[in-house]
Subunit: 284 residues, 4 copies
């Protein structure tokens, strides 16, 4: 039985960091499978991702964590361990567009995404049949101006009751409040149907058409209180021309949105992303 | 001897346009080599590019133009004919960066760009040796706040005296006045070292680094009075990551700038570009 | 009500071709919406696609076709008219992989593909539930070495009984006989899970892994008797590295296969493809 | 003054590898700036690249190397240290095409390539003026069938006399003998003007045109005795269509060849490439 874990670390850069962690893991019988490291010389910040095998640990997991926390304190590290046996629980938020939803559900079924989907939450009923096709509970939580806060509270209750770790906004056409986002800081991935920072806000394909751009893009990012300004995880573009109508751009955009969102979600689930200074380090 | 010409036409869309032009050319003995057409259904505008062989013309070139102008009047067409025997004369404007300059000079020598370079104009002396290597006259026209207008006038004199048809701003680090640009409307190509409309203005690579984008881009456009807002001709991007320093972005950007600018210049020289509504139709 | 048609023409290049067709259409009251043309100077061959509006035809459709056939004879043209009101009927052939099947079904539902799917044919039962989700009749036609010919005959009966115009091999893991392919020449689109002509044949991802390539690709082509050698419609690639296992390559390949196949099918349905000399002209 | 070095290691995968090397470096006062690692689970092989700062070494460089060789023996490691102060000496081999040559010379001057060019070797006189422009000694070594071996010997003499570390075949239109290549195993980078393994051999653009491919590519690889079969370092593609003549493909190919070759050379110079099983691990 595979028994891997991933250690993610960030701290001010200092001599001996790599040796201290490698030595510690070796000393406990952990076998490093994959290690990736980055130093931002401008910010003077060190980042590391270490994936290791725990199947021949000399001690127990708890002793290992205690040892790590001691080293972490010495080097002022932020750190977390993701246990390979813990399967992340992801809630998908949708409105009426189905392309990202289908894409996520199919990828999960094809084992591209190692997560469970305990629920789909929507402010519309439209996509309930899709949820049912895939056997995922569908929660219809409508919104009016008056009920926005109550709707979010209902969503939070559902998320907590189901131990959800990750929220994916798969073209969820609602702006979440700061309070909601703060409750899941760094755990909400959004797909912005445009190349950020160009065309922030709504109707980017119409604006791209009007501006006559030759490429359109999509951006996956962590959602934060500043709308469309959260740390960017992944971006991609596709070529367009004068022959493309707004509808063509929308169609091309849909294909982009799917793959860009899927990449971001997969990297998050594989614990490949570290956030700092409103940017990401993606060890992929 | 090859004797081709290219007819570029735009007008409100109407029935019989294609037939009228095709019939006219056929009637005069012109053989259509390549025809490309586009109708913008939103703007209700028709665009066509017809490249034809004039070597077996029944009449002379002048009769042909008269006939075209008659049809053009009937359909309210804007039109122009580019004679394949006329070799476009291009002035390159530079400051201190040499990568786009070298690229253009080498492509011209490799016969990728069917143009002559009668002059290079610069506000700095730095690139004179490059001009000399390639045997292109180099004009040093320095600028101070006080002399900006006089410098532009000197440039205009040089351009006119040398019958220049096209101006390429190959990382020319000066903002041209409206008067100057109006004198060569639709004949000035600029390379913007960023993906427009993201990061308009200066230091886009620094801003891309700070924002943590995963792609950087470059945009070639016709320069107009609204800085960075002229019709976009071509754009492209390259992938970047947290491992790229600002210097890496600059290096990747240089490669992009070269190819994006070269494509735009080639399409212009091949009379493939039509402008309308601050956008381009590029028949490529 | 929209009433468009598309005329596709190829013939030896000659003067007056464009004028003759444009004049003919105009004379019958057809309004050209989009015209694209290509001359292969090496092969001396002319190709044109004309999309036109028939809603104000002075004559009937039959007179128009008679007139076209007369012009066609004069210029030795191959030609066909595709009526915009005729909705193409497409059969999807699958085995066990579901990604291309889902992709086609979802795109058709999103109105990206203007076709109907009267049937899915498979040599395995596995994908029946997908067919049922989308309400498409599923025909299970198993194959053994002994029954191959009989199975193909059964498929042909189904195709003919349902007036199928196009066959899409959406990762159908069977080699079709020449007789079968000849019955639907130019009407069978296959997705080859590799960049052709590299890695022809089976297990291309394993071979790409062994060879250490830095890009993997996919190719959509018309299926012909020469396996993997039919006219290429579209190709694309995705970047890979030493970090990608064979499984990663397969995953990346799946995403490619979907988009490359979808593009090819859409261009076919929009009558954008002409075939000659085992190559394609794609007017897109 | 910067004083960095890069340690490249490969060996059978085993527990404690990362810790042993990190501990050793730390113990000698070396500060790890960048570490990248890869384990090929199929081959059971471990690879690591460690860039470190030696400016505060407690011991001297020689003691460090002795310590590394002891660890290396324990783990059966292949290893080498590249001293950041050693500037690689690169010989460029050309024939008549100048685009890759210009590209390398310009990038070096722009400090993109940290190498010196002590010589350009050619079997033709054509590019001598380019060499002179950039002040690089040019050696004309013509070849006939009879003199091939003697020509290679003359080249080897020049390379050795100038302590050349790397040979770049920048469209050198000659096949090198096995003896020559063995003398510089893993130190000869070639640009193949095609996407390998498709279209191996000569005239790939003609064959791509005939086959009607929709993408053309270029491949940079280490030259080995098996022509076109050496370890691939980098590949890229560019889109083409029926509108591209062979000449257009050649032009597009030239742009590709330049960037693909430049990337491969830069990665080699930065000691980012490890070779095994006729494949490369590129830590970029």
């Amino acid at each position: 039985m595979e028994q891997t874990a991933t250690l993610l670390v960030s701290c001010p850069d200092r001599k001996g960091l790599v040796a201290a962690l490698a030595q510690l893991l070796y000393g406990h019988g952990a076998n490093i499978l994959d290690a990736d490291q980055h130093t931002d010389p401008v910010a003077g910040q060190f980042f590391q991702r270490i994936k290791f095998d725990m199947s021949e640990l000399h001690t127990d997991r708890r002793s290992l964590e205690t040892a790590i926390s001691e080293v972490a304190e010495r080097f002022s590290m932020s750190w977390r361990i993701a246990d390979g046996r813990h399967r992340c629980r992801t809630a998908i938020f949708v409105s009426k567009y189905d392309h990202c939803l289908y894409d996520l559900l199919l990828r999960q079924r094809a084992r591209e995404l190692s997560t469970d989907f305990p629920m789909i939450i929507s402010n519309h009923e439209d996509l309930r049949p899709v949820a049912e096709q895939f056997g995922v509970p569908f929660h219809y939580l409508p919104i009016t101006k008056q009920t926005k806060r109550a709707q979010e509270d209902a969503a939070l209750d559902l998320l907590r009751a189901n131990n959800v770790d990750l929220l994916v906004l798969a073209r969820y056409m609602q702006i979440l409040t700061d309070d909601f986002l703060n409750a899941y800081a760094g755990q909400v991935i959004n797909i912005h149907h445009s190349f950020l920072p160009a065309f922030m806000g709504s109707k980017p394909y119409h604006r791209a058409f009007e501006r006559g751009v030759k490429l359109i893009g999509a951006t996956a990012h962590y959602a934060t209180a500043e709308l469309d300004e959260g740390p960017i995880i992944e971006q991609d573009v596709v070529r367009c021309s004068h022959r493309d109508s707004v509808q063509d751009l929308v169609r091309k955009g849909r294909d982009l949105e799917k793959v860009v969102l899927a990449r971001a979600v997969r990297w998050h689930l594989d614990d490949r992303i570290l956030v700092y200074d409103n940017k990401t380090v993606v060890f992929n």
